[in-house]
């Protein structure tokens, strides 16, 4: 078994109009910039995919990565917890103009809904959001005298994920705080696509330190020297450069 895919264009080729795509990362840490840009390249060449529903903690920053995906008009709806940042102008303009939908979810609920999707738990109860606008219309139940909100699982067609090391079976490790949503999104998507700094043979990652077992991963592509969103934004980068 070898889940390695040779190039970025191939690995994003199956992403179609209207799909739900989870994108890992929190700020610049763990954001799969090369995968996102490959998806933009596909759109610029073919006009697809569009009308995507994107699940990410944020709404992008500057004019690269998720912000560039939105800027290209590929995103119909965003599911996220914190659509503000140093430079969220791309999302903000579209949102205020009514050109993009937003489902705002508390961060821990977002993480748990994604995990639930991966773990086959269709719904769960959480204290988070009880009595607030974000719980409006959701079922409420009392357990041991305390009120909780029912939340539903979140699943996706595809996840775009950034890892540090992957083996050919799809076992993954991450780097520092770039772990964040990435392991959960692998679990919750039918097709988890991973860019890894290093792809190694099966057996080269100690079984004790695997963070995401290969069963949750469908495709791996090596991106040996990945770009860091934070660096790109500090350099005021725009994707694609020659706009």
């Amino acid at each position: 078994m070898d889940k390695t895919v040779a190039d970025l264009a191939t690995v994003v080729a199956g992403i179609e109009d209207g799909m739900t795509v989870m994108i890992g990362g929190f700020g610049g840490a763990g954001a799969p910039i090369e995968l996102i840009h490959a998806l933009i390249d596909r759109f610029r060449t073919t006009g697809h995919p569009k009308d995507l529903t994107i699940v990410n903690n944020n709404a992008g920053n500057g004019h690269v990565g998720l912000a560039a995906l939105i800027e290209h008009g590929m995103v119909k709806k965003l599911v996220c917890s914190f659509p503000r940042s140093a430079d969220p102008v791309v999302f903000t303009e579209r949102y205020l103009a009514g050109r993009i939908e937003l489902e705002l979810v508390p961060q821990g609920t977002l993480a748990e809904r994604i995990r639930a999707g991966g773990a086959g738990i269709p719904a769960f109860y959480t204290p988070t959001g009880y009595g607030t606008l974000l719980a409006e219309g959701k079922p409420i139940a009392e357990f041991d005298g305390r009120a909780y909100v029912q939340e539903r699982w979140l699943k996706a067609d595809v996840a775009l994920v950034k890892a540090e090391t992957a083996d050919t079976h799809g076992n993954l490790t991450f780097r520092a705080a770039s772990r964040n949503f990435n392991p959960l999104m692998c679990m919750a998507s039918r097709h988890a696509v991973v860019q890894a700094r290093r792809v190694v043979p099966a057996g080269a990652i100690d079984p004790e330190v695997v963070v995401t077992p290969g069963i949750f991963v469908q495709a791996v592509v090596e991106v040996a020297d990945p770009q860091q969103e934070e660096d790109l934004n500090r350099a005021n980068a725009v994707y694609p450069g020659e706009a």
Binding site: M1, A119, G120, T168, H169, M187, A202, G214, I215
Partner: protein, 223 residues
């Protein structure tokens, strides 16, 4: 009716349907035999509930590491690409639909796909383990079993009489006499031992066997 497949032969037949790279959970005991009969060139990845993916055969006697066991508490070894994880992650794999197939034993299988394989009734100590999770988790639930009980009663039945493990979960049954799919609440015969007449097979079965297409010969492998 003296000709029937041995347990090893049933396991061999079930193994032929497992594709290369499939993620597979084998029930404790008899189903574990399936791992031995993977066709050449195919390598399934075996999952065990207690937190290992891609484990291999038992080590030599005396070489056991009792921290490295499968759900049947049998010592195992690791293949390259193995990983360890805790029980909640392990059952996220199960319940979340990440396994391609689970192959389980059965006391009874009903034509509506119901499975009874955990309790023979109210007597004794009940024990369920991971069976109830597996039957609602893997993409495909197959059963391997003798076609009849030791005292000759059918195990393929209209409705289970024993406590259920899962409702409407089984899609294929590999028995000592036949391969039967469950489609639309009916047993559909896919393969049977060539020497066995349809009438004799039906007589050994507790519900109607539907013939809805070609019935292939069930291969009797030399093992």
């Amino acid at each position: 009716m003296t000709v029937k497949l041995s347990n090893d032969q049933i396991a061999w037949r079930a193994a032929q349907d497992i594709t290369d790279g499939a993620y597979v959970n084998l029930g404790i005991g008899f189903p574990e035999k399936v791992a031995q009969y993977q066709p050449p060139g195919r390598q399934a990845i075996f999952h065990t509930e207690n937190g290992i993916l891609d484990f291999g055969e038992s080590p030599a006697k005396g070489e056991e590491d009792w921290d490295l066991i499968n759900a049947g508490k049998r010592a195992v070894t690791l293949k390259p690409g193995a990983s360890f994880f805790h029980h909640a992650d392990s059952f996220a794999m199960v319940r979340g639909g990440h396994l391609d197939v689970a192959i389980l034993g059965a006391y009874e299988v009903a034509e509506n796909g119901d499975l009874a394989n955990w309790s023979t009734g109210p007597k004794g100590v009940p024990a369920v383990g991971g069976a109830m999770d597996l039957v609602h988790g893997a993409k495909r639930i197959a059963v391997i079993t003798d076609h009849v009980t030791k005292d000759g009663r059918p195990k393929l039945v209209e409705r289970c009489s024993l406590p259920l493990t899962g409702v409407g979960c089984v899609t294929r049954v590999y028995t000592s006499l036949a391969v039967v799919d469950i489609e639309g609440g009916r047993f559909v015969l896919k393969e049977k031992l060539p020497a066995l007449s349809l009438e004799d097979l039906q007589a050994a079965t507790g519900a109607t066997l539907v013939v809805a297409g070609p019935v292939a010969d069930l291969i009797v492998p030399e093992l």
